[in-house]
């Protein structure tokens, strides 16, 4: 039913406003309709309080009340126990101990999960032990555990790019059907539905996050009489770069400090830094007729040194040469550009994950909440067609939003597969975190996660929470438009993908520091390193998995 509504909406290519109105209706129909059987009863029972519950949890602690704390997470966890109570008896998991591995970023990720699951533990009687990892340790710890057979966790918070490393090696437990119903998987935005989260047709992932980069800008830099001199917000990269050069030497209207344009992170970030070059490059290289944009799907030959990618690198190098970045930008990683610079009022444009939007309003770090606007990533006036080996100039600029990282999910490992009680407990805990209502809270407050369900795009709910309507339409709209973009650049879920990114950002940093002679030479160095990694991991298997992950 809901799918129908959704697909119809998609089919008519509703404008953003219309689409979101429809999504609200979708949510309403879910609440009102409910199917038959046990699950139907369950969802009906839930539906009665669902709307009021959602409104209640969004008031904890309330927008503008500073970052939520442990007490708030526990309260939200307690209030969202409904679906768990419908499927699990009180004390049913007494004596079960589970180990959960996830990120330990302050006040995010595991910090939230601990608070959310505290009431779950109290109700079910299970006990959860936590493995907390710093973000930089995450990939190595995971790879080492897999390679040495020391997987010591039952539940893992993991990004879809690692599915090749885990599901591909048979380390995960397949999701039971009751979980699929409890978390309402049909509510996921389109691009997060299968094949993402699945491997060989089996479902493994409870999504708790949707990822895409969007373009965030300072509204006070644009308009008549603004310091950029531009009436409208730039929509293509050459316009963006022109702004960067135009505002150089002027003063920021908000802070009175030096004004800057686009904030490219010029330093690596444990692999994550490469996404930010992709933001620029995808517009040049993601051709609407071609799903592949990082490698040639038949040979795994890197495309990263084709003219499109080189153009993206060259754009950054030109800005460096023009002195258009803040001092010490060569030492700024994406964490710095997003949080130390943009949210703190330095620089006027950047591409980042969508949660910078909710952070702009709710985080203690932000001073730009009132002057920030959003749209999909900038496009390019020319696009490189890798198959034809030539530039093309489409009538309209080419847009290709970057679905960087595909979002975090919660997975259950095969350590619990043999023990039904433990298995149910693990999936129940995971489902609690991936629940529909709790996810709304996570999307609205600093959590490390961004919206990923159609039901998250209901403006009224956000408005009740204290968000300003125009802001939320703008912020959520940019996310929705990116998720649903026909030419979205989707990340391949192949083993070792972060190795490619890590070596690429390392070479890029060298190129930006002038260690290579040109953008082309930098790109060639990346391509050479990628070829080496492909050979190491196994070219044939990579080709196969790359094609599979693109749905080819």
């Amino acid at each position: 039913m809901r799918i129908d509504v959704y697909q119809r909406l998609m089919a008519v290519q509703a404008s953003r406003r219309k689409f979101l109105g429809g999504a609200a209706a979708t949510a309403a129909s879910v609440a009102a309709l409910g199917s038959t059987g046990v699950l139907g009863t369950m969802s009906r029972a839930l539906a009665q309080d669902s709307a009021s519950l959602r409104a209640e949890i969004l008031k904890i602690p309330g927008v503008g009340m500073g970052s939520p704390t442990d007490a708030d997470w526990q309260k939200v966890g307690e209030m969202c126990l409904g679906p768990t109570k419908a499927t699990v008896q009180e004390g049913e998991f007494a004596g079960v101990e589970l180990t959960f591995m996830g990120l330990n970023n302050q006040n995010l990720h595991n910090f939230l999960f601990r608070g959310f699951l505290k009431p779950w533990e109290a109700y079910t009687g299970a006990k959860i032990n936590w493995i907390d990892l710093a973000q930089a340790d995450y990939n190595p710890r995971l790879q080492q555990s897999i390679a040495t057979g020391t997987v010591d966790f039952d539940i893992i918070e993991m990004g879809a790019p690692f599915e090749g490393d885990t599901a591909g090696k048979g380390l995960l437990d397949e999701m039971p059907d009751w979980v699929k119903a409890q978390i309402d998987m049909d509510d996921y935005v389109n691009y997060l539905k299968a094949p993402v989260g699945t491997w060989d047709g089996k479902t493994y992932r409870i999504t708790i996050d949707g990822d895409c980069h969007t373009f965030a800008y300072r509204t006070d830099y644009f308009g008549d009489g603004s310091i950029s001199g531009m009436a409208a917000v730039p929509t293509t990269w050459d316009e963006v770069d022109a702004v960067s050069k135009a505002v150089k030497g002027q003063k920021d209207p908000l802070t009175g400090l030096d004004a800057y344009g686009f904030l490219d992170p010029l330093k690596g970030w444990g692999g994550f830094g490469f996404y930010f070059l992709e933001d620029r490059a995808s517009a040049y290289v993601k051709h609407p007729d071609d799903k592949a944009w990082l490698f040639d799907p038949d040979t795994m030959k890197p495309r990263v040194n084709n003219p499109g990618w080189v153009q993206a690198i060259q754009d950054v190098m030109d800005l460096i040469a023009a002195g258009a970045y803040p001092p010490d930008q060569i030492n700024a990683d994406p964490g710095a550009t997003g949080f130390q610079q943009f949210l703190a009022g330095t620089g006027s444009m950047l591409c980042w994950w969508g949660d910078i939007g909710s952070n702009a309003r709710t985080s203690d770090t932000s001073v730009v909440g009132d002057v920030v606007g959003f749209s999909i990533n900038p496009g390019a006036k020319k696009v490189y067609n890798a198959k034809a080996g030539a530039w093309e100039e489409p009538a309209e600029p080419n847009f290709a939003p970057n679905m960087a990282y595909l979002g975090w999910g919660v997975y259950v490992t095969n350590r619990v597969s043999g023990d039904e009680k433990k298995r149910k407990a693990a999936w129940s805990a995971a489902a609690h975190l991936g629940g529909k209502d709790i996810s709304l809270w996570m999307a609205a407050y600093p959590s490390g996660f961004q919206p990923y369900r159609n039901s998250h795009f209901n403006y009224d709910e956000w408005e009740t929470a204290g968000y300003d309507r125009a802001f939320i339409e703008d912020y959520l709209g940019s996310n929705a438009d990116s998720y649903n973009h026909p030419n979205a650049a989707i990340e391949p879920r192949i083993p070792g993908i972060f190795q490619y990114y890590s070596v690429a950002e390392d070479e890029l940093a060298k190129g930006f520091a002038g260690q290579y002679k040109s953008a082309q030479e930098t790109a060639d160095a990346i391509a050479a390193a990628w070829e080496k990694i492909t050979d190491q991991i196994g070219r044939d298997s990579q080709v196969k998995l790359y094609k599979a992950s693109l749905g080819m």
Binding site: A71, D132, L133, A136, T148, G149, T150
Partner: protein, 308 residues
């Protein structure tokens, strides 16, 4: 008579200039001391005050609480350690305390074990000429020292495999053993110098009195070397207390320690300056207490061993 007067005058004069020079030297000495004390203290002051700042205060580099920013329990609240959260249930505080406890056990255990076997080895290397195959005392000392050289990152896979086979993963005894291994070289190095400086006559007298070598060691040498042992213990404690790499690699849910929590303050969502500052402050406190209580032993202990 006259000549005496002249000399007296001259003495006065030289006393005067001496006094001037003395004062100038004092000012210089205290100036440098205060400058360096400032250099040492400022980052720690910065850390401490940051734990009471909100983001704009950190960003704008405000320095003095109550003057240019209003302190807030922010950092401590995020650990569940502020006055208003102290008596509420806090998952973060539970986590913090558990890690603190583990850190104490792992670093104390590792340091004590290292000091125990390191002192023995140090004494042996200081007093007896050994010969293991081609290796003599210097080579043995260097063998121990060489264990300190390898960057820990390359020991990751070997240690992971070893610990998996020995079922030591995620266990405090396992962590204690790694820390022992890690600080043993420096303990041996310090203790060897320490024992060399103890006059050998005492031991010879004890031996003549009929004590065995081990009896001499326990009853005569150890008490003399106590300050040195304390000094070695403190260095070992500091090093293992702040150890991050193996803690992140070899522990999981049960044996986790504090430094990993400090490192986790950074990630995809920027830095929580206040929490990181609060955690860093909390993590350094035990060491400062140890430092204040045992500081005199550090110098005294190392003194005995420093110059023979």
């Amino acid at each position: 008579m006259a000549s005496t007067a002249v000399t007296d005058d001259r003495r006065f004069e030289s006393l005067g200039s001496q006094r001037a020079r003395f004062v100038a030297t004092r000012i210089l000495i205290y100036g440098v001391l205060l400058l360096w004390a400032f250099i040492c203290l400022f980052p720690i002051y910065w850390t401490l005050t940051t734990s009471f700042k909100s983001a704009p205060d950190v960003m704008q580099g405000h320095l003095v609480p109550f003057v240019d920013f209003t302190p807030d329990w922010k950092g401590w609240r995020s650990l569940g350690l502020s006055p208003d959260t102290l008596f509420e249930t806090s998952t973060v505080r539970e986590e913090f305390l558990k890690r603190m406890g583990n850190s104490l056990v792992a670093s104390l255990g590792g340091s004590l074990l290292a000091v125990a076997i390191g002192s023995l080895a140090g004494y042996g290397l200081a007093r007896f000429p050994y010969r293991f195959g081609p290796m003599r005392n210097n080579d043995i000392s260097f063998f121990f020292l060489s264990q300190l050289i390898l960057p820990p990152v390359v020991l990751a896979m070997p240690f992971l495999v070893l610990y998996k086979e020995l079922a030591f993963l995620d266990s405090l005894p396992g962590l204690v053993l790694v820390y022992t291994l890690m600080v043993l070289p420096i303990v041996i190095w310090i203790m060897r110098d320490q024992f060399m400086s103890i006059p050998i006559e005492l031991e010879e007298a004890a031996l003549v009195d009929g004590l065995s070598i081990w009896g001499t060691f326990v009853r005569i040498v150890l008490p003399l070397a106590l300050p040195g042992i304390v000094a070695a213990l403190i260095l070992a404690l500091v090093l293992s207390w702040n150890e991050y790499f193996f803690a992140a690699l070899l522990t999981g849910a049960t044996a986790k320690t504090l430094p990993v929590m400090v490192a986790s303050q950074t990630g995809s969502q920027g830095i929580s300056w206040w929490s990181m500052a609060a955690l860093s402050t909390a993590a350094i406190l035990p060491l400062i207490v140890v430092g204040v209580l045992l500081e005199r032993y550090i110098i005294k202990g190392l003194t005995a061993g420093a110059v023979k």
